[in-house]
Every structure is written in C-alpha cells, then in structure tokens.
Symmetry: C2
Subunit: 179 residues, 2 copies
Amino acid sequence: MKDLKETTISSKRVYEGKILNLRVDRVLLPNGKESGREVVEFSEAVAIVPIAEDGKVLLVTQYRYPVGDVLLEAPAGKMDPKEDPETCARRELQEETGYTAGSLEKICEFYTTPGFTNELMHVFLAQELTPGEQNPDEDEFVQVEAVSLQDAIAMIYNGKIRDGKTIAGLLAAYNMLKE
Amino acid sequence: MKDLKETTISSKRVYEGKILNLRVDRVLLPNGKESGREVVEFSEAVAIVPIAEDGKVLLVTQYRYPVGDVLLEAPAGKMDPKEDPETCARRELQEETGYTAGSLEKICEFYTTPGFTNELMHVFLAQELTPGEQNPDEDEFVQVEAVSLQDAIAMIYNGKIRDGKTIAGLLAAYNMLKE
C-alpha cells in the first residue's frame, strides 16, 4: 500500500469547550502539497444494545438539540476520564434505563465520523437484565421504550430509527444473535 | 410523551471553517433550567455500499487525519450545496472507485453523532456496476479494495472495519439482501 499518511505541520486549538474542543491543523499530504484539517476532539463513548428476557430491546428517546428532534436510540454516553469502556457501559445502562446487566459483551467499535472527529464508540450487547431506578445526568431527559428486536430492525429501514450508533449496534447484535 | 424539547435562548457562532462551523448555544431545558449546547454544523453526506456482479463489495482505504489511521470504509462524501443525495451518491462512487451504478437504492439514513453535530448520512446500495476511471478530490487519496460481503461482515466483528457509516451500511445491506 502506498503511504497515505498526512503529517502535521502546525496545530492550533481554536475552541475549548464543555464536551468538545476544536483544532485547526496544517498538514503535509502524500503528494507533497499542504492542506488544512479541522478536527473536533471528543472523548471515547459507549453504546449498549440491552436485550431483555422477553427478547425486547430497550431503547431511549431523547431530544437531540444539534438535530432539533427527538430520536430513538440505544442507551449511550461519554466515557469519563480513565474510565474503561465496560465500566462506562454498565454505568450508562443503569443511569439511562435503570437496568443492570448480568452479561455484557463487546460487539464492535467504530469511529462515528472520522472525517472530522476522533470520537470512538464502543458497542456492547447487554443481557440478563435486572430492573432498577433510572438515574440520568442533571441536564439529560430520557424515556425508555421496549421494542422487539425484529421491530427495531424494521424501524431502521422505515426511517423511525435515525441514529448511526443505534443502527450499527442493533444490526450487529441481530446478526450476531442469529448466527 | 412528555415534552423533551430544548428551546434556544441565545446562539453564538464561534468558528466558521472549510468543512464545518461551530456554534455555542444557551438552551432552556424541559425542567426550566438552562444549559449550554455545543453544535458542529456540517453538511449532509452520503455513503455507498457498492456490490459488484461477483458479490464483492468495493471499499476504499483512506488516511483519516482526525483519528491518525488508515481506515477501510464505504465510499462516501459530503453533499454539495443544493445537490440531492442520489446525485451525490453517483458522483462519490465514480470519484472514489471509478464505478458507475446501473441500480442505486436508498437503504437508510442516520445522524452520525447527534449529541454534537447535525451531520445526516444517506446510505445507498449500488449494484449493476460498470468500471471506469477514479477521479478523487485534489486532497483526497483513496485506494479501492474488493472484499466479499461475508468477509466484510466478519471484519466488523474482528475490528478490521472501524468506521460507523461503513458498519451500519454493510450490515443494513447484508440484512436486506438476505431477506
């Protein structure tokens, strides 16, 4: 493979915020030319596909300000500093749905949109669920919905589920459980 | 359903760039409190799952500066102003792989990471492919790889494919073609 690497010439952080930072870099391209690169620095995150004993998957509805709509999503959240993905997955599942998982299995991981951010998403399958109290973050308002896995898959194709990590996670879990 | 909407109190664009803008808003939460919201404004985009006559899916390797690695991805790209998703999908497929599609079918659409950006990804299945010349953007260096769909699905679970739109698109196409 030809070397595709881009080398940093200079780097400037133009914004430092609450959940993200923005960096604007100059890079040297493989052809020797220069270009600019805008990078949103974001923490790693987890998403959980929680499947209950009755085969229903627990999803959450949440208002997403950047897109101006309520989305139906897999429970998810950012990793705290030094937190490992599995600990974060257990914490977010409990906070957003109230459930704790007897079985937690990593399915896959991916960059959510590697063209402009380093956000890395770890996806887990949670089973053997025990109900409990929801405990969301102070500025987070989520409602739990239980949907059959088959129905959730159909909602990907009919446009009722429109969140990337949820689509990837549901299909990856569905495909894995069918094998 | 309880009203989950967050209302904009004030909005400030802190950065205007080449591929993205950054906005920092104050919002009124459903509980009457205020909070801040950081929003990366990005264009809509498309990803294509191109499946050749021999059943192989055409993927592209590309250095992704924000994550510092070469990723194996579905052909994809941003929509030009006023361009519709299908036109963009045909253009990006041709630019990145050289192929044109006799059949192009929308599979699904999703927000890539709705917690901090409005980027909306339209995903297409492309079939009846005819080879031609690659024609990438000036600062874009991509190499085409043909992989059997079955192998591509396995690469989601073994960590060789680590791009969100590619995982969602491959699994959505695979599941649809198997029905």
